[in-house]
């Protein structure tokens, strides 16, 4: 392993200011659940330049509360870059000097692509709870439409973390010839009962909030703020590791002494309340979208239609894979990544696996980490060399 020290002058840079684009697709889409979307739109961003052979395209699939904005800034004064900015940009692991990178918001979400907060053409009202269930398989179909639109017959790489990594698997299974490499990070071949249980508690928090109004909260000029807050607190708590929370907060008291009250006593309470509150009030995340995303996580299970045989589910795959897991990620643990690696190998696929030391739990896939960066960058360089990019 070589440690590269970067001088200021050749430090990785940002893709800069980016502007989302919109693709409207007027073909009706029959979803896995049986419902039909008469039309839908996809909001996406691109970074870098598609080469003449269209052989350098990378698709980024987002996780639960993510979106198309994976890198760069939305305006000159924007302080918050895209969610995977540490790993996408000129000179970064996904080097935009080499690759043409596409980030897309999934349908059912709420960042511009058609979802529960969008207007239902049949009623001229927001879909709300009538927006149909969407699955990873549905998303992959819509992402393939975007690829068609962009003139990309085959992705050099499809990459994603967590729920994003499930979409990567779905791509490799459903469109074997349309990607050369699958980069699956902090993901799993399917959720465990415990994972589903955490999602269910979050859903119940939202759905039992009196402001939820059976999903018609927008029509009632309200939002289920408490439910969203609780769901986010719980999500946040489980995406961090016990170690990290211990290091970060320990049992530190907010006011330096015990007050014997229900106000914040420990710093960790303050942090969690702040995160929950911020998400519920400032993120504008649609509660129906939150529910849909957790259900998409629950439903992903490619082995189901193969008698729980993951090797059989992976049989159609043609892509090579990079699988990455993080030591303290207890919601998508290294064991779950190893299930995928083992099944891919048994199915005769070429796969590289890296277990990255990190104290950051599930969130590690979003955060700077030297070894993770090196593994990721090395893999992407191999992709570039093999494809003569």
């Amino acid at each position: 392993m070589t440690t590269v020290t970067l001088s200021e002058s050749n430090a990785p840079a940002s893709v800069g200011v980016v502007t989302p684009e919109t693709l409207v697709i007027d073909d009706p889409l029959t979803l896995t659940c049986g419902a039909v979307l008469p039309s839908y739109q996809l909001v996406y961003e691109t970074y870098g330049k598609l080469n003449e052979q269209a052989s350098n395209a990378v698709l980024i699939c987002h996780a639960l509360s993510g979106d198309h904005h994976a890198a760069g800034y939305h305006h000159e004064d924007d302080k918050t870059p895209g969610w995977w900015d540490h790993y996408i940009g000129p000179g970064k692991a996904i080097d935009t000097n080499v690759f043409f990178v596409v980030g897309v918001n999934n349908i059912g979400s709420c960042r511009g692509s058609t979802g529960p907060a969008s207007i239902n053409p049949a009623t001229q009202q927001p879909y709300g709870p009538d927006f149909p269930m969407v699955t990873c398989a549905d998303w992959v179909v819509t992402q393939a439409k975007l690829a068609d639109h962009l003139g990309i017959e085959q992705w050099a790489v499809v990459a994603g973390g967590s729920l994003g990594g499930m979409q990567v698997q779905q791509w490799a299974i459903d469109f074997p010839s349309r990607l050369k490499h699958a980069v699956i990070i902090a993901s799993a071949p399917r959720l465990s009962a415990q994972n589903i249980a955490f999602n269910e508690v979050a859903r119940q928090a939202i759905m039992t909030d009196p402001e939820f109004h059976g999903g018609h909260f927008l029509a009632n000029n309200t939002i289920p703020k408490q439910g969203l807050m609780l769901a986010r607190m719980l999500g946040h708590l489980t995406y961090l590791s016990d170690d990290l929370m211990g290091q970060k907060f320990g049992r530190e008291l907010r006011s330096g002494h015990v007050n014997y009250s229900y106000d914040v006593e420990f710093q960790v309470e303050s942090y969690l309340r702040y995160q929950g509150e911020k998400f519920a009030t400032k993120s504008n995340f649609d509660a129906n979208s939150y529910l849909l995303m957790t259900k998409a996580l629950d439903y992903f299970d490619p082995a189901l239609e193969h008698n729980d045989d993951l090797v059989a589910a992976y049989a159609p795959i043609e892509a090579q894979a990079l699988v990455v897991a993080f030591t303290t990620d207890w919601r998508f643990s290294p064991e779950r990544s190893l299930e995928m690696v083992k099944a891919l190998r048994q199915a005769g696929k070429r796969v590289v696996y890296a277990e990255v030391e990190s104290t950051h739990g599930h969130d590690a896939f979003l955060l700077p980490n030297a070894y993770y960066e090196q593994v990721f960058a090395a893999y992407m360089r191999r992709v570039a060399v093999e494809s003569a990019l």
Copy 2:
């Protein structure tokens, strides 16, 4: 290790039908938080017979939602025995043919001892949110009053699991000469930041329920049912192990196929909703008591006043200790028990440690388990032999 096969005729039996008793204490009690309870009552049960020297008494300390009813039945047709009935009774680990066992409900709880649902003599209304914060140190003081009343100068054993194990530690520290043995099961020397965070999510679920009314729900003829349900779902989920949930439910679908709806899809959802619903509607557990119990968990930290030095905190202890942990308990993991064992040993105390294989997570301390039973019974036999009982 000897395996004893029990024939039907000498199989351990129940303590039978028991009747709770009440002790009213009219001395004012100054609590750790500074508040004063002018008077209070304790509800308790006893099993077995106190010997002449009063040397065979065992105190059982309960956990978050537990109570004084640790063994036996409340009437002839009662189908649900006390919460530790597997381990308390004639011929059981805590053998009521040998020991005189006392179960007591703690103040602040809601099973008969004075708590938030009790009438505040100053207002003639339920205390509600005005009931003061209680700590393990407060409970131990009240339990010592009960010991005085029963004529017990020194407990042969003080035993408890989880929050109960914290009370055992508190006893050993605060009243060194009043117990010969401390049995600390599935417990910790203090909660981690992650533990506190789980408690905080549960509290927020209760406190943000519109039916909570700032704790005055009884005065409003209602209860914060959704909050209690969410708190219990979350508690339940974290008291089970990932392994057990996998074995018990896996990804089994309730109706045998996917319905793409927010109704129950997976058996684990059904189970959790049932548990949450049952607790919120049928247990009559007071929401203010639930909050108080989680705070008592958060606050327990004997090392705090010793510069985080647990060895110093344990220095006054005279009791010998048995510490038991369960392999899949991730809320009170074996590592946490080992912290106690290590500190007790460094403080020069005599301590036996057992790590019990179990798939049942934190709940294991309540459930039948052959090795746990053998360790527990062997320790109690040693206590009996040493004290010539």
